[in-house]
Symmetry: C2
Subunit: 183 residues, 2 copies
DNA sequence: GAAATTGGTGAACAATATATTCGGTATTAT
DNA sequence: ATAATACCGAATATATTGTTCACCAATTTC
């Protein structure tokens, strides 16, 4: 990809993230984005069909990055469930989030948090499927598998939501324990 | 309230619900709403400051109705937890939803479902607080109370989401059991 | 039932936002 | 060097929002 393209794309993403942490998605205009990114109007539309597509591509980039990083490491080990399993994917996820690459925390806890958390939950579902053996408990035998998978993804996001809302006072280890206790 | 006001308000709500089940909230214009409701432009703005306020008032009306109906009945009994408790508030909720007053199911399962489910979860939180004694389990002793409350509300909405996505094939009793098992 | 109050109409309007076009310029790759 | 590509920026058509105002109709009050 052309260096100019990369720089433009990055400038737009960066400006967009800045705006998303200031105001609601619906209130952000293309005019503001291109002004902050300092690119021409036509250039914006050459990269993104609409503002919604920009959001979608941003989500893909953010979450694919974080999920790939945490997901590929400790996969398929088929562990027995344990609160303090040192190689828990979910512990990795919480730790990775804390590092705040790409200002992801700004987005997940800002005004548009639900937008991103919802998207995150969708992406998370696949990760849960890959690591299902970790959750070999009694109660999931009585429940449909799809229900069980949704529940784990949902509980993870809810735990994250709570963590963020409370200023991330707890350590990733503690939050992971909370998560495993709730699920 | 004047009958004219009631009729106008009802016409706008009804048109809005119809549109919400067809297309995304962001794509709906005031022009479409007033055309479908067959009211003047000035009339719309006399009733609702903006499209967002219209949404907010619709949510209030829908969820206050359904939560009041289910909530006030079996409150403060301080039951021991039981999957098949005949007077569970949550069973009442699932049953009430199934009746589909005001086409609430159309909204909760349509394109804008996340919008409403999110709002529902907020409202639900208070109901959970009122009925917390029902959930006297071992594990909630180890977890912060606010975490626990969020988790119950979140799990209820997730259960509802799953039920809707699977065509509501299960009975309210079965779904309530799923919910109690997951939480 | 007449008068006063309130609500609705519809068209016009300014302000703002979207998405496209196009000739010209700068950068990159070969 | 040259061809291809990306960016610029201003102009433009179109669409949406939210307000105003004079006029008409329904409702309430006495």
């Amino acid at each position: 990809m052309d260096r100019r393209q990369r720089k433009t794309r990055e400038a737009i993403f960066s400006a967009f993230i800045g705006l998303l942490s200031e105001k609601e998605f619906g209130q952000i205009t293309v005019g503001e984005i291109i002004e902050k990114a300092d690119v021409g109007r036509a250039t914006f539309y050459a990269h993104f069909e609409t503002k919604d597509f920009l959001l979608k591509e941003l989500c893909e980039e953010l979450f694919c990055h974080i999920l790939d990083a945490s997901g590929k490491e400790s996969c398929g080990h088929s562990h027995i469930f344990a609160c303090d399993a040192p190689d828990s994917v979910f512990l990795h996820l919480f730790q990775h989030l804390l590092k705040n690459d790409n200002n992801i925390l700004l987005l997940l806890s800002g005004q548009n948090n639900e937008l991103f958390l919802q998207y995150f939950q969708e992406k998370l579902r696949q990760l849960v499927v890959d690591h299902l053996p970790q959750f070999a408990q009694r109660k999931n035998r009585c429940l449909p598998e799809s229900f069980w998978i949704d529940h784990i993804a949902s509980t993870f996001v809810q735990t994250l939501r709570w963590w963020l809302a409370n200023g991330m006072a707890e350590s990733p280890q503690t939050i992971t324990e909370y998560f495993y206790m709730a699920v």
